[in-house]
């Protein structure tokens, strides 16, 4: 079931009939999903429904069992070796646990892949890193070590690290779930700004309020399939399937 995207251009990210099995267990079943350029797509669903696995398949941290993934018309699923490394440069990813490199400063974190993978000259990499840190409001922490930062700050550095590589799409896996409530706002602010600048984003998150306000489309996953997809008003205001209804009921109860 593919929802028509609101913008009729070639999709920036296109997932076709994606399947993923771990040994015998099937975690994703025939996922179809496309994200138009500049679109912000939200993925929601209960724990264990395969949201992270789907995101990780998009940059092949997880190897799809079958199906294809295209980025801006190029096959991600066919890439091998160095070609895959180059493809990953175009796909920014922010992890739930951030995974900043503890042995490198904030600036070092943001510069490493620019220098080693993108082969940018050091001065240019530094300038770009500072620009991105400015963007997420952390230029003053450039020389700090990750351990000295709050969770929200670490998350924003992780975002800057991905953005500095000029990706065509950004994947976020529960960007706020490890954060204290008062730190969530600063992170959402960065994402909102990215959206306004036209970044294509695929976000797994439980921030329903943010989804309602900022998402172009919301995708509901359960049991490894896309159960329902559509604009936020439809998904939240007029859910069709029972599974989505009960999920929304559970979530809204949790939020009270």
């Amino acid at each position: 079931m593919t929802a028509p995207s609101p913008v009729h251009r070639r999709p920036m990210l296109e997932i076709n009939r994606l399947e993923k099995r771990f040994g015998e267990t099937r975690v994703l079943t025939s996922i179809d999903l496309s994200v138009a350029p500049g679109e912000l797509v939200f993925v929601i669903g209960p724990s264990g429904s395969g949201k992270s696995t789907m995101l990780r398949c998009c940059n092949r941290l997880e190897e799809p069992s079958s199906g294809t993934i295209l980025l801006d018309g190029e096959h991600v699923t066919d890439c091998r070796g160095a070609a895959l490394d180059r493809m990953r440069l175009k796909i920014g990813m922010v992890f739930q646990g951030f995974h900043l490199y503890p042995h490198k400063s904030v600036l070092g974190n943001v510069m490493l892949a620019q220098i080693r993978a993108l082969k940018r000259p050091k001065a240019e990499a530094k300038a770009r890193a500072m620009e991105m840190l400015e963007h997420v409001g952390l230029a003053h922490k450039a020389d700090a070590m990750p351990a000295e930062l709050s969770g929200g700050q670490q998350q924003r550095v992780a975002t800057a690290r991905a953005l500095a590589l000029d990706p065509k799409v950004m994947l976020f896996d529960e960007p706020t779930s490890a954060l204290d409530p008062e730190l969530v706002g600063s992170v959402l602010k960065v994402m909102r700004r990215l959206r306004d600048e036209g970044m294509t984003m695929l976000v797994v998150s439980h921030e329903m309020g943010f989804a309602r306000e900022a998402a172009d489309r919301v995708v509901f996953m359960d049991g490894g399939v896309v159960v329902e997809a559509g604009p936020p008003e439809a998904i939240f205001g007029n859910p069709q399937s029972d599974r989505l209804k009960s999920f929304l009921a559970r979530v809204s109860k949790d939020e009270e």
Binding site: F95, Y101, R116, A117
Partner: protein, 222 residues
């Protein structure tokens, strides 16, 4: 007491044997440099092999590590020094020692590196790969620096063992520190040169041993 001082702490004999021991110390130093350098390099390669997903790399590396951890280094040394000549390979004592201890040390260093690499959370490698770094780049710039830091005490303590190990070279008549001291002992019929050698080893290794204890206590504390 007089006997004891005369036999074990005879400064006159120590002074006389010092030039010989100093020469031996020089050879010990050369040996350490060769054996530690080779052991670290070989150990790193073996550890990467043992952690590789490729079976044809993984199992031979693990077999190599276990094999050379099971054979006493002295047995390996005697085998290389007096066994290989039967196969037409005549080695100088120095070369025999370097080969034997390379096999032994790289197995031990490999275990340390392996533990270190495994101690780095999987998310670190994933984050590196997700930003387009290649596997070797992720290993070099992200995993290894953290791995080495996590097992620094073990690397250090293994290196202390390697330095102590070089004393076994005396068995194949390599004129390193212990051999020279034992030589001086048999000439003077007095154990003071051996005691002097022991003091030299202590002077070099005691600070390191202290450092290791500190370090391990620090790690245990948190």
């Amino acid at each position: 007491m007089g006997d004891f001082l005369d036999l074990f702490l005879n400064f006159e004999i120590m002074a006389k044997s010092w030039p010989l021991l100093a020469k031996g110390l020089g050879i010990t130093a050369k040996l350490c440099a060769a054996v530690i350098g080779l052991g670290l390099a070989g150990g790193l390669m073996l550890a990467l092999g043992a952690l590789s997903p490729r079976r044809w790399l993984k199992w031979p590396a693990i077999a190599f590590i276990d094999l050379f951890r099971a054979i006493p280094p002295l047995v390996l040394l005697v085998f290389v020094f007096s066994g290989l000549p039967f196969a037409g390979l005549d080695l100088t004592p120095f070369l025999a020692v370097v080969i034997a201890f390379f096999l032994n040390n790289s197995a031990y260093y490999a275990e340390v590196f392996r533990a270190g690499i495994q101690s780095v959370p999987k998310g670190q490698a994933e984050a590196a790969r997700a930003t387009g770094l290649s596997q070797p780049q992720a290993m070099l710039h992200v995993i290894l620096p953290q791995a080495v830091r996590n097992v620094l005490p073990d690397l250090l303590s293994n290196t202390v063992e390697v330095v102590k190990l070089t004393s076994l070279a005396s068995v194949v008549s390599l004129a390193e520190l212990l051999y020279s001291a034992n030589m001086a002992r048999s000439v003077t019929y007095n154990s003071s040169p051996l005691v002097l050698a022991a003091l030299i080893y202590l002077a070099i290794l005691w600070p390191l041993v202290r450092l290791i204890s500190r370090y391990q206590r620090g790690l245990a504390a948190h």
